[in-house]
């Protein structure tokens, strides 16, 4: 919710991050190991944002990093892990188990339909599921209701309108027209349901070129545009790069060793100690690394190798 008509929305990570306020409900784009807005999370961690209420579906690196970086107050995701690859999310678990973050866990279709309600201007929508699950214990706001059309029990879930969505995309123009490659995960929903939308983009296109290819989301939904090549690293942003499994392995070693090690070996090294996103890219391996991560398209074998290195 919010209409943005400025002709040039191009700004810096630093300025764009200021749109996110302490305590905001923040929709974090991408999911699991795909197209998460990591550069923007770095900036929010650097700026010391606090008590963010993070919403999303099935996520991993982003939420774990945000928890480890100390910017999270509430987690309203449906799943946080590194899947079959590295398993449980160390910072996230610690934050939940220490009480540092409030757990408001949800389920994918519930979140999706709460976002849809916000997108559609509906105050709530009915769901046939949820009943019988203890997930209602995370959500005292849900209302039980008898559907007047069928007499059956449904759960009314309220519209979920994030204050800000932060989304990494493939292409954008300075007006804010956005092109995303599938899978969209919940990103299109996030952009339409949120009051403000900050995008980081791999590439800035001329407006005429964007018109030609047809934007996934039109400019008026977008608040700010930041040009951040490799802005999703170490998650993937295909076709540009696969996920950086070696980097995530390094992350996992630091995160699993406890908060102090994580601070010293990861946050200081890759977030607090870097001068810019370009500097970050240098630290994680620079051009050689980015070439390696782009090698997935060369052959099945090269692609498989990216799943085994690290």
């Amino acid at each position: 919710m919010g209409i943005f008509v400025e002709r040039n929305k191009l700004t810096t990570l630093e300025e764009a991050a200021k749109i996110v306020k302490d305590g905001d409900i923040v929709a974090v784009g991408g999911g699991l190991c795909l197209r998460e807005p990591i550069a923007m999370l770095h900036e929010l961690i650097r700026q010391g944002r606090r008590n963010l209420h993070i919403v999303g579906t099935a996520h991993g690196f982003d939420v774990d990093l945000a928890c480890g970086g100390g910017i999270v107050g509430t987690v309203e995701e449906t799943h946080v892990s590194f899947e079959q690859d590295f398993g449980l999310a160390p910072n996230y678990r610690r934050a939940c188990e220490s009480g540092a973050v409030k757990i408001k866990e949800s389920c994918c279709n519930t979140i999706i339909n709460q976002l849809r309600a916000a997108e559609f201007g509906m105050p709530f929508v009915p769901m046939k599921s949820i009943k019988g699950s203890d997930e209602i214990r995370f959500h005292p706001e849900y209302k039980e209701f008898i559907d007047p059309f069928t007499g059956k029990r449904v759960i009314l879930v309220p519209a979920l309108e994030p204050d800000v969505a932060i989304i990494h995309v493939n292409k954008a123009d300075v007006h804010g027209n956005v092109k995303i490659e599938p899978p969209y995960v919940a990103d299109v929903l996030f952009m339409r349901a949120s009051k403000k939308v900050i995008i980081t983009t791999e590439e800035i296109l001329p407006e005429e070129e964007m018109k030609r290819i047809g934007p996934t989301i039109p400019y008026y939904e977008i608040t700010a545009v930041v040009h951040v090549p490799f802005g999703a690293h170490p998650t993937s942003c295909y076709p540009n790069y696969a996920y950086d499994r070696a980097h995530i392995a390094e992350y996992m070693r630091a995160a699993s060793a406890g908060p102090e090690v994580f601070k010293n070996n990861y946050l200081d090294k890759y977030i607090f100690g870097v001068k810019s996103h370009a500097d970050y890219i240098e630290r994680i391996g620079g051009e050689a690394k980015m070439r390696l991560l782009a090698s997935w398209k060369e052959s099945r074998e090269k692609w498989m190798e990216l799943f085994t290195y690290g």
Binding site: G31, L32, C33, L34, T57, A58, G60, E77, T78, H79, V80, S81, F82, E83, Q84, D85, L88, R93, C96, E97, G99, I103, E105, C107, C108, N109, T110, I112, M127, K128, S129, I130, K131, G132, S133, D134, E135, R137, K152, R153, V154, P182, P183, Y184, V185, A186, V188, L189, S236, Y238, P239, A242, Y243, R245, W296, R300, W303, M304, F307, T308
Partner: protein
Amino acid sequence: MVNGFEVGIDELFVVNVARTIKDRSTVFHGVSSPIPMVATYFAKLTHAKDMVYFGGVSSAVDPNPPFLPYTTNDWVMIQGRTAMVTVDKIFDLAQRGELDRSFFSGAQIDKYGNQNVSLIGTPEKCKIKFPGGAGGCNLSADCVNYTIWTTRHRVQRKKDRAIYTLVEKCDFITNIGHVTPYGSRRDLDLVGNGPDWVVTELGVFDFDPETKVMRLRYLYPDTTVETILENTAFRPVIHPDVRIMDMPTKEEIELIRQIDPLKVRQLEFQPEELRRKFYI
């Protein structure tokens, strides 16, 4: 030495899960589901060629991934697809009663098939945090049926206690089975019919039609009813005709190895379980 073609527990397990999939049905597997990931693609290539195959949250329709990856939301899983949909369309199918099968697991699974993927403790004071159910709370209610799987049926005996996965009662119900403290599926006006199969590394179960309690149907060549009872915290129903499961063919196993060169099918197993081999 045993003669014959060697089959790993991981491969046999994949086949057991794949057997719960019917042709011409709509099937989706969720996140952190390496075995269902392999089993579903395997079924699509074998006995369920007309399955509508949603290959994970990347939500491609009928993909032909060049290999199976370590994360379900990777471009690998949208290669060779017939179409893309957005993932919400899969959940819509489910709430409409049109998603025939999905696959769920849990750190705890109770006798009625409820699963805990959320936490031990309470939402306010969480002792152990699990990853969360992703789409499971909704889909376990909505799917026409679903398959429960776990590779951790075997009890872990620690110094002072025994940790069961198959428990009498879950500490927290994330994904719902047949009967919950809030009522039965019918009481709750749910869309789906609940779990119909439970595949573990020790056996294969369905549910007793009367009591809705898990019922042992098949054993592995190296497990017995006693193995099941020792490793299960509740008393499962034992089907009068419990038998050893049928072995897959050599061709089937070779196909599994071909579609899963990274062996994601092994990731869920404890190393000692992977030593279990079978021969055909």
